[in-house]
Symmetry: C2
Subunit: 156 residues, 2 copies
Amino acid sequence: MSPKATSRRAADAAVLYELESQIGFVLRRAHQRHVSIFADCMAELSLTPQQFSALVKIQDEVAVSQNRLGRLTAMDPATILGVVQRLIQRGLVNRSPDPVDPRSTRLTLTEKGQELVASALPMAREATDRTLAHLSSAERKDLQRLLSKLATGEDE
Amino acid sequence: MSPKATSRRAADAAVLYELESQIGFVLRRAHQRHVSIFADCMAELSLTPQQFSALVKIQDEVAVSQNRLGRLTAMDPATILGVVQRLIQRGLVNRSPDPVDPRSTRLTLTEKGQELVASALPMAREATDRTLAHLSSAERKDLQRLLSKLATGEDE
DNA sequence: ATGCTACTGTTCGTATACAAATAGTACGTC
DNA sequence: GACGTACTATTTGTATACGAACAGTAGCAT
């Protein structure tokens, strides 16, 4: 049986469209695999990539509003809301009213949150390493650059 | 203010961890942007990338079981279930019992489904094009190759 | 025939992701 | 000082994504 026979069939009439080579499909699968690896590396602490991102950014900023945290971590207001709620519920994040703007909330890390971020950092690095395991140093730089261009929609 | 002053702050004690340069973060943002573009291109037909993928694969295979469709489109059984249910509800997909294996279901495209795939194809191509707009032909090939390696976790 | 293993689809619970709409408040202009 | 615009967080609804557990059945070994 020729490869042609297996790859065509009923699609003969239609224009050829190979799902596996579409950028969206490969992007989704690559992301899925990374999330799976991340969950594996972070199993002990049970943090999702989004939760970890939020914790890291709160640490960087010391104190942030919820919406700003969402912008820093690429999550819309409705999404970051849920993420933050779960972090507060686990006692990792503290929420207090903003002293100047009553609309805004002030998010900070609890002591437990700071400790957890510290112990999570090496695990996050391991997730990155395992995701990129089969890529050379040059390939990693290329991928980083190309994905950044894709993500921003700009030229660099 | 030096760039150092803005990039450190309270993270002084901790090891430096730049979220924006982590592969998982960039991967997520790139995927988000593509999904957004796809939704934009497909607004008229209101198909998600996953729904479109499923339709294309059913067309390729003429008839598939639900779980196999999930494997072809990189969705686990619980996820593909919901996707297929919505496609059936919209009258795009037909479900019939498998003649040989009573556990299995036979999914096929309805006439409406076939027509919709045909008109959706150019829109999906446009989504791909717009996502990759800022990349040269060589860069697109590189990205495709690198993402494929990431997705499979293998060397090519 | 019996039994073991693997696979079918399904359900439940949790966690993103985002559009759309909401109430409340800041901030600028006039 | 009123006012429109923009921003704060929140709610609702829909759609993935997936671990875990489930009943039912196929297929194979004995």
